[in-house]
Amino acid sequence: MREIPSVPVVITEIIEESPSIRTFVFSRRFPAEPGHFCMVWVPGTDEIPMAFSAQNAITVQKVGEATEALFALSRGDEIGIKGPLGNGFTPSGRTLAVAGGVGAAPLRLLATSGVADDFILGARTADELLFPEELAKCTNLQCATDDGTYGHHGFVTDLLRAADPTSYDTICVCGPEVMMKAVLAILIEAGCPENGQFSLHRYMKCGVGICGSCCIDPTGLRVCRDGPVFTGDIIVESEFGSYARDASGRRKSF
């Protein structure tokens, strides 16, 4: 049993990406690969899982108590980072990234490391598209917005169909689970679910594979330790897209 330290870091920069999404850059780099996450300790509030959007940054949507506490922090404040944790993306060959909303966070690291050839980025509206300029520099970027304020008027799945999923060796996906489920359905239709790599989000208490709060049905795989990235063939017959468990372990439908 080896120590898994929560490393204190200083927040050196806070970037407002959208009204509800901020990137927190910190004083230290971690050896995070695309898709790895960390447990972020906001002292006095909680510890929550968050994907690395860079080796020295996390990108966070304000959704609850802990993220609100994070948003209340300023440059110079300290948080604890435990990580990198989990198994990230393992792209090979021609690679497409498909992101929805704040799901672009882990895929940014994939793009900036030069691995993603093409990138499909979606959001509800133009203001909420994450990292469009940066992603356009290192990938062939296509955007979709639900309200048509930028790019394709519609969903990332429309662009994915048009892009021909079978022309890619790896398709890395992160976003709302309903969106990811729709992406998986397209890959199944195209006969290549195993080429899809999906980054799952589940309630996590420990983040290190011991407590079991993030296990998925019916395999009992731990999202924190066996994932958070799973290939489509692993999650096709699972709770994915149907339900998840809350902090108490009760099932909640999507």
Partner: protein, 296 residues
């Protein structure tokens, strides 16, 4: 190293595939993860502790991992009655439901939910960091006796898991025995705390937590030893077991079987690894001859 003859065993009214069970609180929130650990070679599995009301548990950090030890303060998160549905398909398997309550009545209520659904109950009278539950009840011999008696009304075998955070653990073990317990599980985590010098506050969200892992193995062996001297009912050793030799050592102290929890952090295949070196069809010793042999 000492090896044992393989085969099914019966301890505290439960038929087990081998001597090594999954301890409560580890990968036990869902039926799927319990089934996974049985497939991975666990001789039996104990569920996450289930109580009378759903609980979300403490705020994080909930777990801190160190060299040779880990500390947790989950706060008894559980889905309460909803958990029963998780056991569909496992009713014939060696599953033991860990339950908790604040009073004998609550223990009795939760115990009844599991009748016909599991092979036995394990009473959590020992969690060191949940106000009004666990060790708060389990340090009082009269309460332990009453809670055990209340759970026995379910008709299921009852195991009582003890806290090491008492002056004399045998007093609690004897209380469980008086209440009709079928086995004692010793021990739960050791009450503990670490402080982040950088943040000048405890590292766990709850402040206080429970220490587990190899660091507490000597404490667990001592508790099993003392209980074996004092009690008649079988003892299940728990606390820092992480190798086949640890299993044998626990048994020599007096344990009829063991539970393994924290070592799962190394590898979910830990049960397979341990049982592969623990058992030998040729040359293995009879397990009954090993249990308590160090007391001779």
């Amino acid at each position: 190293m000492v090896t044992l003859i393989p085969g099914e065993i019966t301890v505290g009214g439960v038929r087990l595939h081998n001597h090594c069970m999954l301890a409560a609180g580890v990968l036990g929130t869902t039926g799927a993860s319990l089934a996974r650990m049985l497939r991975a070679g666990a001789g039996g599995v104990v569920t996450k502790s289930i109580g009378p009301e759903p609980k979300e548990g403490h705020k994080g950090p909930c777990v801190a991992v160190y060299d040779g030890a880990m500390m947790n303060a989950m706060g008894l998160p559980n889905p309460s009655h909803d958990f029963i549905g998780e056991l569909d398909g496992l009713t014939e398997s060696p599953v033991i439901a860990s339950i908790f309550g604040g009073t004998p009545e609550e223990f009795g209520e939760v115990a009844d939910w599991f009748a016909g659904r599991v092979q036995a109950l394990e009473l959590n009278l020992s969690c060191p960091h949940a106000e009004g539950y666990g060790a708060a009840v389990g340090a009082d011999p009269d309460m332990v006796e009453q809670c055990t008696r209340a759970a026995k009304h379910s008709g299921l075998p009852v195991w009582v898991k003890l806290t090491p955070n008492v002056t004399d653990i045998t007093e609690i073990g004897l209380a469980a025995e008086r209440g009709g317990a079928d086995a004692i599980v010793a021990v739960n985590t050791v009450k503990a705390m670490r402080i982040s010098t950088n943040f000048r506050r405890p590292v766990l969200g709850n402040g206080m937590g429970g220490l587990s892992g190899p660091a507490i193995f000597p404490v667990a062996v001592r508790c099993v030893w003392e209980l074996y001297e004092a009690c008649e009912i079988p003892i299940i050793g728990c606390g820092g077991v992480s190798s086949a030799d640890n299993v044998v050592e626990m048994m020599m102290a007096g344990a009829s079987a063991v539970e393994i929890g924290s070592a799962v952090i190394e590898d979910t295949e830990i049960f397979r690894q341990i049982t592969e070196s623990l058992y030998r069809r040729d040359g293995g010793e009879c397990p009954e001859d090993i249990v308590g042999c160090a007391h001779a």
